[in-house]
């Protein structure tokens, strides 16, 4: 049975699922950033006609899925499964979106690693023969995340330079058993690693060891080397975490410095937009992938990339009880060739 497994944590698909379409919807700040030309829809304000930010975030997911399906020339009844998650307690953005979409629904929680968690399970459902079409969607919203995880926005606290800026946006990907790519060829599923960080305004270092562990594991499991990739891009390590991850990998003999990017760094112009260490959130790698990276793959700019969404499993309740913040990272290889 296990011929699809490579090493300890990696699987290789026999019939790699094709990502046949994507869609992205982002907030005004993201739409003012360096990747603005790659998003499908940029909102004028962060409420989008709703009465609360939570309702807005659910609408972001719902409309991103609908737009991705339109881009794929499909309708909701064509979809076998929806794999979705977000940062909010009880993943309400996903479940209220799924309520409207009426697609059989698997709810996921991996903090900001949820984007590649959803792509991993979605691709397994297709390659396993259980689905023809699945949609994978994740989101985040600056205003819902800040008040849940940190401080009320009205409090106006000063953000330290290690802080990251939660991305307002949703990114949806439509995976199919047929299509012309790009294809999901490999999945390396992460383990939880906890370096002992307790500061909710310093998430990069909490995730960096998990990212390094998953990427190194991927190389060991597959036999790939850094030069086999055009790009390795983490979710939201941002400037502080990216440097740590790069050092941890170098110590193990893996120099990926010339192909290493981070979605959290790419999405904002940190200096002009005052976002400090960079972007974060389930929406961060979701819109960078579904916007910029997907289009760059389609255009032939990249042939094979590794997307490594990174999650800091921050819980205010248990951190207040003295616990530290565990990290996790899931890697997905996306290639223009099967």
């Amino acid at each position: 049975m296990a011929q699809k497994r490579l090493g300890k944590q990696t699987i290789v698909f026999q019939n790699p699922p094709s990502i046949i379409a994507t869609a992205t919807i982002v907030g005004p700040k993201e739409g003012d950033g360096p990747l603005k030309d790659y998003f499908d829809l940029i909102l004028d304000d962060d409420l989008w006609g709703e009465s609360s930010w939570e309702k807005t975030e659910a609408k972001l997911q719902q409309e991103a899925v609908k737009l991705a399906l339109t881009n794929a020339k499909k309708v909701t009844t064509d979809v076998d499964y929806l794999f979705a998650g977000d940062l909010l307690n009880q993943i309400i953005s996903s479940s209220y979106a799924a309520r409207e979409l009426k697609i059989p629904f698997f709810g996921l929680y991996g903090a900001c690693s949820t984007k590649t968690e959803s792509l991993s399970l979605g691709a397994m459902a297709i390659d396993g023969g259980f689905a023809d079409i699945v949609v994978c969607v994740t989101s985040s919203h600056f205003s819902t995340a800040e008040r849940q995880y940190r401080f009320p926005l009205e409090h106006g606290n000063q953000r330290p330079l290690t802080a990251q800026w939660t991305v307002t946006g949703a990114g949806a990907s439509v995976l199919s058993s047929s299509g012309n790519g790009p294809y999901i060829t490999h999945v390396t599923t992460g383990r939880i690693i906890d370096p002992g960080i307790v500061n909710a305004n310093n998430m990069g270092p909490a995730m960096a060891p998990a990212a390094a562990d998953t990427i190194i594991r991927h190389f060991k499991d597959t036999g790939f080397k850094p030069e086999d990739y055009d790009l390795i891009i983490t979710g939201d390590l941002a400037t502080v975490g990216k440097e740590i991850a790069q050092e941890l990998m170098a110590k193990e003999g893996y120099d990926i410095s010339n192909i290493f990017m981070d979605c959290g760094i790419e999405i904002f112009d940190a200096e002009r937009q005052d976002t400090h260490a960079g972007g974060s959130g389930c929406g961060c790698s979701a819109v960078v992938f579904a916007g910029y990276l997907y289009k760059a793959l389609k255009a032939g700019k990249y042939k094979r990339i590794m997307l490594v969404s990174t999650g800091a499993l921050l819980s205010p309740t248990i951190v207040q009880q003295g616990e530290s913040i565990p990290g996790i990272a899931h890697a997905v290889t996306i290639s223009t060739e099967k």
Copy 2:
């Protein structure tokens, strides 16, 4: 590719995964209930030596997984994936358990439907050829759930008769590509249905329409009839929800009354234990399945059952904003024969 699909929402496995072992750990109240003889470990108190109930619940999951692996004569490094979830914000019981277990981890959230969500995805991972051994675990804890979803325990509010009692317990199941059963043969994945309930002390009616929808869908997709099952058992509809679900199915021509049970009703003696409508929580169907049902299948008391864990996706944040509580239910067929 889609030969494993039946109808709109059901899959049938070609090589049905075998549930080779289970383990259950429950609190004192559950250990005083009608199913006490079927649990592996009954705690003397609800803290188990920890300094908070949240840390206790993480320990429940962690130790249930270890015990299930011992029962399966396996160790953590034999396990390809851990599929886990719970009721707490950021599913901390699962992620802190996964931190200690160091198994590649997929975090799930489906409220009390998470038990069958984990069995569905775990079985798909095995039948799809992506794993030889997976562990599926979920938990809940009365004291962590009450204070997160309803009132501080110190408040001492009176519980209405429609209220359910969150089960303190964790149930783990070890699935394997080989073994002598019982086997997971079919999975019917639910859609979200929202009947408009807004009362956090009346969860049964919020879930009943979703349970009826998934069970009816299962019959339509598979061609099975109620008489093909020895038992159809929902997660935690409890007395109020079970009656509604049964009526909804009867209206569609499916009379399952003589084989219909509910884990939430079975786990407590409502009158003697003062639990009102019945038990609830991710731990409810987890320990009733991994305790009583698994052993009844092994003993030949049942040959084919349908386990339908039911989730009320209650979010205090968005209910306070005027939203209602969506329900979802995932069905898994478990049979002593492939």
